[in-house]
């Protein structure tokens, strides 16, 4: 096994996904087969190769420091499930 149950559970915590007891074995199996496929990338030596983050051979464009947006508060709040006055609501955030 290249990836085990415990790792899958940890990933699920990080990704905020629920993995039920009934599906975990199947998930471990499928992720394991994917990792096996992925592992082929280690076959090639890449010591002198620069990572390619983006196919664009270009540099970041800069935007002038200007306010171009107007308030869309009502629109945004109308899209959310739970709001009160001007706030989005979530179950209490613990600091």
């Amino acid at each position: 096994m290249l990836i085990n149950r415990k790792e899958v559970e940890q990933i699920a915590v990080l990704a905020k996904l629920h993995v039920s007891e009934s599906e975990i074995d199947a998930i471990v199996t499928s992720l394991d087969s994917i990792v096996e496929m992925i592992n082929h990338i280690s076959e090639v030596n890449t010591d002198n190769t620069k990572p390619m983050a983006n196919p664009m051979d270009a540099v970041q464009r800069l935007r002038a420091d200007e306010v171009t947006e107007t308030s869309i508060k009502e629109k945004l709040l109308s899209m959310a499930t739970q709001t009160d006055e001007d706030y989005f609501l979530v179950p209490t955030v613990v600091e």
Partner: protein
């Protein structure tokens, strides 16, 4: 460990400096503080699907200026943005855009004075650009937190020091110095109450003589100079107590509670986080050339340290006064403008009055220099009138109070209120003679050399003239009599 162990403190600071831009880091959204919740939120900050970031040039330029100001060895010709992944309601994308691997500024230094007054160099590891998060409001609801995304996406530079600070006091000195730099550069409004300038402190202790660092804790989001000092001191105490009682310091994030003056672990940070940093594929490398960096040099102003030297050596201001003026950007500007226009009056007098009467008026009215209750021209006029002997120092104090909040010049007030010194020696002589006649015995004592009596006569003359007499002239008349 036993109780005789001598402990040494090691502190590193991470200062979050909000940049004073019109618009946010990656969208043209208003950054003005204090708007109603969620009114300064564009689709980007609300993390609407399909929205994309575009980099604000002002942020780049401000970060370069900071790098230049702290003599950074590296202002990266190519810097990149990374995503820091975590779920939190005030960070709607589920990641924060920051610079992990290739920050814009690296390896700067800052000189502070240690407790013995010696220069101490604090190394700045890096300053990187990142987005600020929104705010959660906890006290408004029982079972909910309210989320306000106005602050979300506001540009920050995070200034990370090496662990070169060895006391809470040094930490505060360093923080104040950084504060002074960013406000002098004009890249940050420096408002601690509004959260424009906040600090995380990494604190650890080790026995004196030990080389390796002790386990550190991170104190989060301290937003006043006073609390930085208190929080670090209380944390040092806690760590010492812990180690001396045989315990161990846990590496964790702690929150400072200023009401209870204690630190406690942050529950939200307890679950070991793995931020899964990776280069943001929505943004390309930021590439700049040396000319671009050089162009920013013109925006680097004279810093307090240089100002202090100029004030003390060039203008003969007392070191303590020079320091106070130099470290307050608006006061220094006002002072420099004033000095530029002075003719007969001395810079030293200007400094005295600025820190004396002028500052007293600022305090009693609870206003700032930039509120412009008194302009430079008014102040210069007052100083000149004083230097020319038209008014006494005492009258000057009356006049500055009368000028306050008006545009009236000293000349005008002196004229309309009749506050000019009695310079007509005939008039003054008549008054002095009359006082001598009414105080013969005191005059005799004066004549016998009792100098207390001189003050007595000057006082009497001043009383009679309502302070308008020139003391030097009074002396001449007394001597002649």
């Amino acid at each position: 460990m036993n109780n005789s162990t001598q402990w040494e403190t090691v502190i590193g600071l991470e200062i979050h400096t909000q940049l004073k831009t019109n618009s946010k880091l990656f969208a043209g959204t208003d950054t003005t503080y204090g708007a109603s919740p969620n009114s300064h939120v564009s689709m980007l900050e609300a993390a609407m699907p399909g929205t994309l970031p575009v980099f604000n040039e002002k942020v780049l330029r401000y970060a370069i200026r900071f790098g230049l100001a702290v003599g950074a060895k590296v202002i990266a010709k190519e810097s990149t943005f990374d995503r820091k992944n975590y779920f939190y309601p005030d960070s709607p994308k589920g990641y924060q855009i920051t610079q992990l691997n290739h920050p814009i500024v690296e390896h700067g230094t800052l000189t502070i004075q240690d407790k013995n007054g010696n220069d101490k160099i604090i190394r700045i590891n890096r300053a990187h650009i990142e987005e600020d998060a929104g705010k959660s409001v906890h006290d408004k609801y029982a079972e909910f937190s309210g989320i306000d995304l106005n602050r979300c996406g506001t540009p920050l530079i995070e200034i990370v020091s090496e662990p070169d600070l060895s006391s809470a006091k040094e930490a505060v000195t360093y923080m104040k110095e950084i504060h002074s730099i960013v406000t002098h550069l004009g890249i940050c409004d420096g408002n601690l109450q509004e959260g424009s300038f906040r600090c995380d402190a990494n604190v650890s202790i080790r026995p004196v003589g030990q080389n390796e660092l002790g386990t550190r804790t991170e104190l989060k989001n301290i937003n006043s100079f006073r609390f930085v000092e208190k929080a670090i001191n209380i944390e040092i105490k806690r760590q010492i107590k812990l180690l001396e009682s045989g315990g161990k310091v846990t590496q964790e994030t702690r929150l400072y509670d200023s009401d209870k003056n204690e630190t406690r672990p942050m529950r939200s940070k307890e679950e070991a986080n793995d931020y899964r940093y990776f280069p943001d594929p929505d943004l390309l490398p930021v590439v700049i050339d040396q000319a671009y960096i050089d162009n920013e040099k013109q925006y680097i102003p004279e810093f307090p340290a240089a100002k202090i030297i100029r004030y003390t050596q060039g203008l003969e201001i007392k070191p303590d006064d020079a320091k106070i003026i130099a470290q307050d950007k608006s006061l220094a500007e006002f002072f420099d403008e004033t000095v530029k226009s002075l003719k007969q009056a001395k810079a030293k007098t200007a400094a005295n009055m600025l820190l004396g009467e002028f500052s007293a008026l600022l305090n009693s009215n609870d206003v700032k220099v930039e509120d412009n209750n008194l302009n430079v021209a008014q102040f210069v006029g007052l100083l000149e009138a004083l230097a020319e002997g038209k008014i006494s120092h005492k009258i000057a104090k009356t006049i500055i109070e009368k000028m306050w909040g008006t545009n009236l010049l000293a000349e005008e007030i002196i004229k309309t209120e009749g506050l000019g010194q009695v310079s007509d020696s005939g008039e003054l002589e008549t008054i002095v003679k009359e006082i001598i006649n009414n105080n013969q015995s005191q005059f005799a004592a004066y004549k016998e050399g009792d100098m207390k009596m001189f003050n007595y006569f000057v006082g009497q003359v001043m009383k009679q003239t309502k302070g308008r007499a020139n003391p030097a002239q009074v002396k001449t008349i007394l001597e002649k009599s």
